[in-house]
Each structure stands twice: as structure tokens, then as C-alpha cells.
């Protein structure tokens, strides 16, 4: 009887069995569910901008106000160096990719628990949930980019052809954010207290990343340590593109390698615990 079913490949046979780690089939299946990914991302974005009157304005206000505070505290009072660029400009260009990362990671970490009713009632590749959750962060980043133009004009900075690398830097930020976010999403389900720890981890992470200070401030012999943090290359690279600073290709490459490694590890871990999600939530 088994052979009769199994041989009939045209009739879309589904095999339900205990799963191990990541298989190629999971990736193919993920692709076949791309419309759901798009739908969920769109739902989150729509709801976010429908709920608040300020809506899109928040996406600009949050980094702008943070820039103001950081400029006073770290620029004026602490007098942190900024690679010869006015500190507000410097910190804003670093804050954008950082805030994207922080928002994407927090969103992804909470996403699977938040989609509990979906996960316990319908089948779909669970990876869709953290993937879709970064959509909001991405839209917020794109909106916040608008504020860069007047700031650059105000400080008289003319970015050159390096602007062409901006999409690459955003893609890099996306890779790193997804790597961390997917891992955090899985850990949040398995360990219920992780969602209380997660904001703290992200906060500490910011100070380990050259957002409020330049990586050039790190002594040469410790520079490799900064490269171990994949967000270093993202923040430095993004800032260099907009502020016409020399681009540190080693940093970007280290970031890409680290980000890809994390993303792969996170997806493998996620797929491993995913089969228990419906029992855990």
C-alpha cells in the first residue's frame, strides 16, 4: 500500500513524520509560502501605521530625539570623538542601522510567542513568523532615511558614489538582524524568561557596537574584538557610505562572514526546536 501512495508523485503527497534539523525541503517549502510571508509583513506594517495618529512620524522622531540626547550626553558632555564629522551627524548615521537592528531583533524575538494562536492552529513554516516581523523595522528605517538628506545639507557633507553601497549595507544589516532575531525568537519560546533578558542584551550590545563612538577609538590591538561583533561592520559601513568616510572593507567582510554564520546557525537551531513550538506555546 505504501508503494502505491509513494509512487504517485504527481498528487502532492505529504509525509508527516518526526523531524530532525534543517533539510533542503524546508527551504523549498519556505519559498512556496512566500505569499504568506508578504501578507504577514504587510499586516504588521498596516496595523502599525493605522494604530497611531503620528504613524510614520514616529519612525523619524525616535531616531531624531535619540540623536539629540546622545549628542548632548556623549558629544557635548563626554566629548567622544567622531572621525572629524559633527557629532550629531555622526551619531545619527550610526543610530539608523542600529535602531533597525534593535527593532528587528526585539520584534523577531517576540514574534513567535505573539503568533501563538496561528502556530497552534495552522500549519506553515514557522520561520515565516520572525522573517515577516522584520518588515516593520525595515519600513521604519526607510522612512527615517528621509531625515538624512536635510542633515547632510545642513552640515555641508556631500556623499559621493559610496551612496551606491547603501542598499548593500542595508542588506547586510538585514542578514545580521535576521540571524540574531531568529535565534532570539526560538530561545524565547524554549525559555520563557528570555523575553525579560532580551532588552538588556540588546542594550549592552549597543555599547559594544561603534554607534556612539568610532571604531577608530578602539586600540589597534583590540580591533579584532570589534570585528567579532557583526554589527560593527554594519554601523561603520553604513555611516561611511553616507558621510563619505573611508570604507573599512575588512570590517564589512568580517561582518558579512559573521552575519551569515549567525543566520545559518540560527535557522538550524530554529528548525530544530520548531517542531516543539505548538507543544510549548
Amino acid at each position: 500500500m505504501t508503494t502505491q501512495i509513494a509512487s504517485d508523485v504527481h498528487s502532492h503527497l505529504i509525509v508527516i513524520e518526526p523531524r530532525g534539523g534543517l533539510r533542503l525541503r524546508d527551504i523549498r517549502e519556505l519559498w512556496s509560502f512566500r505569499e504568506l510571508l508578504w501578507m504577514l509583513a504587510r499586516r504588521d506594517i498596516k496595523v502599525r501605521y493605522k494604530e497611531t495618529i503620528l504613524g510614520a512620524l514616529w519612525a523619524i522622531l525616535r531616531p531624531a530625539l535619540t540623536m539629540l540626547i546622545f549628542s548632548i550626553v556623549f558629544g557635548r558632555l563626554a566629548k567622544l570623538p567622531s572621525d572629524g564629522v559633527p557629532y550629531p551627524m555622526f551619531v545619527f548615521a550610526g543610530l539608523l542601522p542600529w535602531m533597525f537592528f534593535a527593532q528587528a531583533v526585539s520584534g523577531a524575538a517576540a514574534s513567535v510567542l505573539g503568533a501563538g494562536s496561528l502556530i497552534t492552529r495552522v500549519y506553515f513554516p514557522r520561520l515565516i513568523v520572525p522573517l515577516a516581523s522584520v518588515g516593520v523595522a525595515l519600513v521604519d528605517l526607510l522612512i527615517a532615511l528621509v531625515l538624512l538628506a536635510p542633515l547632510l545639507y545642513w552640515y555641508g557633507i556631500v556623499p559621493g558614489s559610496s551612496l551606491l553601497a547603501v542598499p548593500l549595507m542595508i542588506a547586510l544589516a538585514l542578514v545580521v538582524s535576521l540571524g540574531v532575531g531568529i535565534a532570539f525568537a526560538a530561545v524565547s519560546v524554549v525559555f520563557r524568561d528570555f523575553r525579560h533578558i532580551e532588552p538588556f542584551v540588546v542594550q549592552i550590545w549597543m555599547f559594544a557596537t561603534p554607534v556612539i563612538y568610532p571604531v577608530s577609538m578602539v586600540p589597534d590591538q583590540w580591533r579584532w574584538l570589534a570585528y567579532l561583533n557583526p554589527m560593527s561592520g554594519v554601523v561603520e559601513g553604513f555611516r561611511a557610505c553616507w558621510l563619505a568616510l573611508p570604507l573599512d572593507w575588512i570590517g564589512v567582510a568580517a561582518s558579512l562572514a559573521g552575519g551569515m554564520f549567525m543566520l545559518l546557525g540560527a535557522v538550524v537551531y530554529f528548525e530544530r526546536v520548531e517542531r516543539r513550538f505548538a507543544d510549548l506555546i
Partner: protein, 439 residues
């Protein structure tokens, strides 16, 4: 005929307690690892010896394409777990199932609806979640809207919908998913009668199209009318498979669940004046093993009294929906009110008449009350029992009469005719008089 579903030794294991395998707190795990490094290491290497149980064990069955398979069994027999595995929400621990074609389940009515989004947006969102493609949704959109009857409110956020509109829209989407295998849970029973009728009608129609349905229900009438074959689950194992009538008969003949006997040793050391030793429910006419609607049955509460005192038993009887169906105390009986008990074991018996409770599962809480005011022992869900439907099928009527009780009521037809027949009773005449009085 081709097989739509083939299950080969499906098993599912859960950790005892909360049904969650190895969920925990990071803090606990790290703390444990620091405090007991050796044990943690051993647990990681050997596997911890937490108590586990099989919600499903070695299920083998096949369903032909176009069949409607009923799944019956007591609460906790593994029916929902089976549906969850077939709908791929959770993985089996062992074994596998082969399913031909697309699977959809009606347990997901309204899943993914977002209150802030409009009806139109929710149709697209929900349908995508249920596995429909955008083109497919666009093609069926008008049909879905027409079925739901909410045309005028498509642009309104669904948070402004009445609950009826919400359910109609949700069901309309679910009903238009083209699935080869449809999984239906009892959840349908939550809707109003009209909604249930629509669901069952839709299911019959789906089956006529040659699609396969797996239907989990306690409702013998719906099962009888919709299904041709069925499986009976008992503590996670397949205990019967075959024609629906045979399986329902096997289900009715299943021995009553064992009363959870309280730990006598523990209670012996107890300082309380009285404790519950055991509770059981049996039909008052001997010979049968299960209780039918028409049968009277006896609830027997065995108690252990440790000191002479006045003790009464109080029962809370709950239905499946956790609503209380009735409660009663032994001291409601005049002769038992104020009764002083001697130390030792004894029992209270309560006879519940037939034609009172509806078919379904019931759970008892037992309280021991001292002097009619202080509770000295309270055992919740200590015993459960089932009442099965033995009423004759009614021609053309497919649904289980809803409600907590199923009294045998007398029906009469009274005709307000111009002339009285020779058989007209005094009551008839009175009814007619009243009517004419109003005219």
C-alpha cells in the same frame, strides 16, 4: 479507490503535568547547571527521567479518498492530538502519516483575523494563512463575500463587526479553501444552531465532491449521519475501527473511567475528621456498563471518618464546557440532615434519575461538609462519567439537541379548529376558548 490518508504507527509523547515537553526558564536551567553540574551533565547525556506519557501510541489506519472518518473517544483519548498531527501543527514523536493532497482544517475558523483590518483585508490575510494563493482568493472573493453576507461592511475594520458577522466571515473563508483532506473538530459546536447546520451542510457537500473528511466529535447523531467509518481511541490507542455503528457501539460499551482513588495511606495520616476514599458512578440497573440518557445512575462516595462527627457530602457536577450542571448535598435529604457518623469507612449514594442529563462527559467535584457549614475535604474532578445517547434517531433530524439537560418532554399538537372532533379533550377546548376570548 485510492488512499487519502495512511497512518503508520503514529505516536506522540508528552511530559506529564503541563503538556509541554522540556519547557522551562533559562534562569532555572543555568541555576541547575551551576548547582548540580554532574546531574545536569548526566541528564544531558543520558536523558532526564521525567515522567512521560503517550498521548497517542502506535496508530495505524487508512482512509479512502472521499470517506468521512469519525474519530470518537473520551476526553483525553488523543483525538485532538491526532488532528494536530494530521494538520501538521505538531510532529509525531514516532511513526508517520502519508496524506495525499492539500490539508485544511475547520478548527481554524478566524485564525489570523486582525481586529484593526477591514473585512476585505482580513479575507485575503486569513485565506493566505489557510494556504490559498492570491489568484485563487481573487477568483473566489465574490463567492466568499456572498456566502458571508457582510458585503456592506467590507471596508469596515472587523473590530466593529458583531460576533455573528465575524464568525460568518471567518467561516466563509475557511469553507472556500479547496482542500483534499478536511479536518473538522468539535469546535464547530460553539456556534449557534444555524452556524452548526451550515457547517455540517458544507461538510456533506464537500464529501460529495469526493474529498476526504476527518471529523472529531462527541455528537453521536452528527457522526451517524455524516460518517461511514470511524475509529475509536482509548488512552491514545486505537481500540476499534470499522463502520460507524459498530464503533459507536464499542464506544458505548467502553468501561467507565476508573475513579481516581485518593491515596488512602496519605489520608490515614491526615488529621482531618473525614476524607474521600473513592467515588464511582454506575447505572442503577445492574448488567450494563455504561449510562444511557434514559437510565438512572448512582453516584457513590466512599468516605473514611476518623472521629465521630456530623458529615455530609456535597457534589458539583460539571459538563464539558466546565459549566456546572447541578449540585446537591446529602443533607438535602431530610433523614440524612444532621446525621452523625461513626469512625470507619462508609458511603453516601445519590441516585440521579434517567432522562435528566444530555449525552456527554461529566466531571464530579466532591466536598465533605462538617455540620453543613465547614468544608473538611474537597476533591475536584475526582470522577468523570459519560452519558451516551440511546434515543432513537429521528427521521430527517441530524443534530444533537443542545443544552445541559435532555428531559423527556411531552409534546402535543393543538388545533384551533372551527369544529371540535369527538376526541377533543377538555384542555383543547380550554385552549380554544382562550383563543376565541382574545379575538
Amino acid at each position: 479507490m485510492t488512499r487519502a490518508i495512511k497512518a503508520e504507527g503514529i505516536s506522540k509523547e508528552y511530559t506529564i503535568g503541563a503538556q509541554r515537553p522540556a519547557a522551562g526558564l533559562l534562569v532555572d536551567q543555568l541555576g541547575d547547571a551551576l548547582r548540580h553540574p554532574l546531574q545536569t551533565l548526566r541528564a544531558a547525556l543520558v536523558g532526564d527521567d521525567k515522567k512521560r506519557f503517550w498521548a497517542l501510541k502506535d496508530l495505524d489506519f487508512e482512509i479512502e479518498q472521499g470517506d468521512i472518518l469519525g474519530v470518537v473517544g473520551r476526553n483525553g483519548a488523543g483525538k485532538s492530538t491526532l488532528l494536530k498531527i494530521l494538520s501538521r501543527i505538531t510532529d509525531p514523536s514516532q511513526g508517520r502519516a502519508l496524506v495525499r493532497g492539500r490539508i485544511a482544517s475547520l478548527l481554524e475558523v478566524g485564525t489570523g483575523f486582525h481586529p484593526e483590518l477591514s473585512g476585505r483585508e482580513n479575507i485575503f490575510l486569513n485565506a493566505t494563512i489557510l494556504g490559498m494563493r492570491k489568484k485563487e482568493i481573487e477568483r473566489k472573493f465574490d463567492e466568499i463575500v456572498a456566502f458571508s453576507g457582510v458585503e456592506r461592511f467590507l471596508a469596515t475594520p472587523v473590530k466593529h463587526y458583531s460576533s455573528g458577522m465575524y464568525v460568518r466571515l471567518a467561516f466563509a473563508v475557511a469553507a472556500h479553501v479547496d482542500a483534499d483532506v478536511l479536518l473538522v473538530d468539535e469546535v464547530l459546536a460553539v456556534g449557534d444552531a444555524d452556524f452548526q447546520k451550515r457547517c455540517l451542510g458544507k461538510m456533506g457537500q464537500v464529501a460529495q465532491d469526493g474529498r476526504t473528511i476527518v471529523f472529531v466529535s462527541h455528537n453521536a447523531m452528527a457522526l451517524r449521519n455524516l460518517c461511514n467509518t470511524a475509529i475509536l481511541l482509548e488512552s491514545g490507542r486505537l481500540s476499534s475501527i470499522g463502520l460507524i455503528e459498530d464503533v459507536l457501539a464499542a464506544y458505548a460499551a467502553q468501561p467507565l473511567p476508573q475513579a481516581r482513588v485518593a491515596d488512602v495511606e496519605r489520608l490515614a495520616a491526615d488529621s482531618r475528621p473525614a476524607t474521600v476514599s473513592s467515588v464511582n458512578v454506575r447505572p442503577s440497573s445492574s448488567g450494563s456498563t455504561s449510562i444511557a440518557i434514559s437510565q438512572a445512575f448512582i453516584i457513590r462516595v466512599e468516605i473514611t471518618v476518623s472521629q465521630p462527627t456530623e458529615i455530609g457530602v456535597f457534589l458539583h457536577c460539571y459538563g464539558t464546557g466546565s459549566e456546572m450542571v447541578f449540585s446537591s448535598g446529602s443533607f438535602f435529604e431530610k433523614e440524612l440532615n444532621g446525621l452523625n457518623l461513626r469512625p470507619g469507612r462508609s458511603a453516601f449514594e445519590c441516585e440521579v434519575p434517567g432522562h435528566l442529563l444530555n449525552d456527554g462527559e461529566y466531571t464530579l467535584d466532591v466536598l465533605l461538609v462538617q455540620k453543613r457549614h465547614s468544608i473538611v475535604a474537597s476533591e475536584s474532578a475526582i470522577c468523570s462519567f459519560r452519558i451516551h445517547d440511546d434515543s432513537a434517531t429521528v427521521e430527517g433530524w441530524h443534530w444533537r439537541p443542545a443544552g445541559a439537560v435532555r428531559p423527556l418532554l411531552e409534546w402535543r399538537y393543538v388545533e384551533y379548529g372551527e369544529t371540535f372532533g369527538a376526541s377533543a379533550t377538555a384542555a383543547d377546548a380550554e385552549a380554544i376558548t382562550i383563543r376565541t376570548g382574545n379575538d
